[in-house]
Symmetry: C2
């Protein structure tokens, strides 16, 4: 048997008979000749034949002679081919996959996702996503983090009562985890530095371009920090790893025409109170989407950075486990990372003392009983720690300039969509 | 500020004043001197002081002079220390974490998991698990796989109606995915070769040592195979990567006294029918646990391999998407991988033609309607493909000789256990 050769490797085989395999990307029957373009995971192969072209998306195996042709994709084509069908296509794809610009609306793309995503420009987005995750992990591995896998089924909806999916758990009420927050914090007590890449679930009732019922969260939590500046430093390191790994997918980046950002050695930081002044003397407790856009544009213009940390977010807008800013407890040791006009990451330092947790819950009028198994962890000695969570689909969308995160999710789940 | 030094690095700093930080693993107050053993993620540091020892699990920062002492852990100790408390321990750990053998029963360990897992021998298991996953991914990256993230919320309980968790999904009925089977198959149409590391859910009503309500599945699916032998070859490659990566955690392997297996260049394969003969002329359609043990011992004894593929499993015991064995459709192109007496992995070739799926469902008396979005994929041209799934917790348990997979799960979920 002749071993299979990928499209991208063909140019090294001119003059040889080789076997390629893939999908019929396009067939063009001219008067005297037929061009069959075969797509595999590495690219396209032009096959020159006399017969009719198989239907689009038929899976074929082609044995033929590799010949130079400067007008063919990759500068080579296969002539004198023998074409065998490995898998019939008995239905037409939802749109022509060979058109450079996807000729379909978002609902059409999503309804036919398993086939739509075969379009090279759609597939390339997920290659960038996969590379980003690999970069995240290798950056964190390099600083001694341990990867963990935590429960997605939890006994109480601790992080926020709303937006949580209920499950029938052997006759008991349970919930889908909205984040691995409590687990990753507790695992700082075991491994000091941890990360998790996994699904999180939000019963998000609003149909927006930014929210999904399930997304992939890249979570990290780091012990023995001084304060949130150490967390920002680890986040900067992770982001740099993600960008650099994405950049290594040269073909995908080029196909998408993606402009990847520079990650400054130190991402500029502005305190929330300073940001309010810059925004014209505001006195809000949160940033509006317009504020995020303005601050992001300001950082790009004035500081030459597409990334901007806004630190010291008001405690009023942060969860109870957030560490207040020493000396000014109106603010917190927590931050948002803005990227190209949007909040990309939220992170910060957490409380680490048992008594501080009890006080924080009391101040918010919440019962410690609901958080008992979480609070127990802090009764057993925990170091100062903090972390962050990056939404993978949002990251990929921002990186590639895609407006709706459904486009950077293989099979999005939202209030309307439960299939495919 | 003096930068923090890890326990494992101390020997390189003899004669220097350094700062270490960690948990009080043990305090021993003798007549004239107190030894405080501080545990960090790299190991133990002996601190020699005059005062009382802080309570077990107190988080401390110690600045002291590194001095050689052949009787101390790592051959060095810290003298003239200044000890500062970073995080108080206000409750005692569930058991003494410093005892070499964990002095607690499984329920005690699991009830106090966030603290129990600080025990070096328990933590080391999860370092091996993390290394195994890293090895799985790098082996598959090396052969051109793309990592995917698929929905854990699905619209129909396709794989098997039983053992599925129901969710209230915005007022509709939905389910937790029992496997990424259908998604990973469909993504072969996009990426040719994919893998996913993620949670899967089984409403397992039996309280066994081998089953959990959630576990971490290492899934792979590979297109353009000839048959299941190619799948076995990829699985062998992945397993070799996992073992080799686990072996790189020298400290953890040594602490656990783990004997890691040799992965043969070719793992021996025995056909199910042959296995029946070896088992004394049986004519069953599945292997019993006793059969698995016998065959595994036979392979170790006769073939010198701790791994054994049993191929050609009867179709009667395999899901409808399994590819039958050409020429003998009583059997299938699917296999189990036995390891140290137990089934570790199931895998095989899948059907890839639309008509074959329709026929397979009709033969089982099932309606294609329930599988519509899955079947659609095969109407659009799919290559011959196959794959496998490795349960991470079961893998780690087998590798380390642990009897119950709850011990190799950070926070196990079963019919009784929903916390911590």
């Amino acid at each position: 048997m002749i071993a299979r050769v990928l499209a991208a490797e063909l140019a090294a085989h001119i003059g040889e008979r080789v076997r390629v395999a893939g999908w019929v990307h396009r067939g063009r029957e001219l008067k005297s000749v037929t061009f069959v373009i075969v797509r595999d995971r590495s690219g396209l192969t032009q096959v020159v034949t006399a017969g009719p072209a198989p239907a689009q998306e038929t899976v074929v195996e082609v044995t033929g002679l590799v010949t130079a042709n400067s007008k063919a994709p990759g500068g080579v084509e296969l002539v004198e081919p023998v074409i065998a069908v490995l898998g019939e296509a008995v239905a037409a794809p939802p749109f022509d996959l060979y058109r450079p610009v996807v000729p379909a609306t978002l609902p059409t793309i999503l309804d036919g996702a398993p086939v739509s995503l075969r379009h090279p420009a759609l597939r390339a987005q997920f290659e960038i996503a996969a590379a980003s995750v690999a970069g995240f992990r290798s950056a964190l591995d390099a600083i001694g983090c341990t990867e963990i896998h935590t429960p997605k089924i939890v006994g109480s909806a601790t992080e926020s009562g709303a937006n949580v999916f209920g499950i029938d758990y052997f006759g008991r009420r349970a919930f889908l985890a909205q984040s691995p927050q409590f687990f990753k914090q507790s695992m700082v007590g075991v491994f000091e530095r941890v990360y998790e890449v996994g699904p999180v679930f939000r019963a998000e009732p609003h149909d927006t371009a930014r929210h999904l019922a399930q997304y992939t969260s890249l979570d990290a939590e780091i012990g023995f920090i001084t304060d949130d500046r150490d967390v920002m430093s680890v986040l900067r390191h992770a982001i740099a790893g993600m960008v650099s790994s994405a950049a290594s997918r040269v073909e995908a980046v080029s196909l998408l025409g993606a402009r990847l950002p520079e990650v400054p050695a130190e991402i500029p930081v502005i305190h929330f109170a300073e940001a309010q002044k810059l925004l014209g003397g505001k006195d809000e407790i949160d940033l509006s989407p317009a504020d995020e856009r303005w601050l992001s544009a300001w950082a790009a213009r004035e500081l030459g950075s597409e990334f901007l940390f806004v630190s010291g977010f008001p405690m009023a807008k942060r969860p109870f486990y957030t560490h207040p800013q020493p000396g000014n407890p109106k603010y917190s040791n927590s931050f948002d990372l803005l990227f190209r006009g949007l909040e990309l990451v939220t992170g910060g330092q957490r409380l680490h003392r048992h008594a501080d947790y009890l006080a924080a819950l009391a101040e918010r009028g919440e019962s410690p009983e609901a958080y008992r198994s979480y609070l127990d962890v802090f009764a057993h000695g925990m170091p100062p720690h903090g972390g962050f969570a990056i939404g993978l689909e949002r990251w990929t969308a921002r990186l590639l300039g895609v407006a709706n995160i459904r486009q950077t999710t293989l099979f999005p789940r939202d209030i309307h969509r439960l299939t495919p």
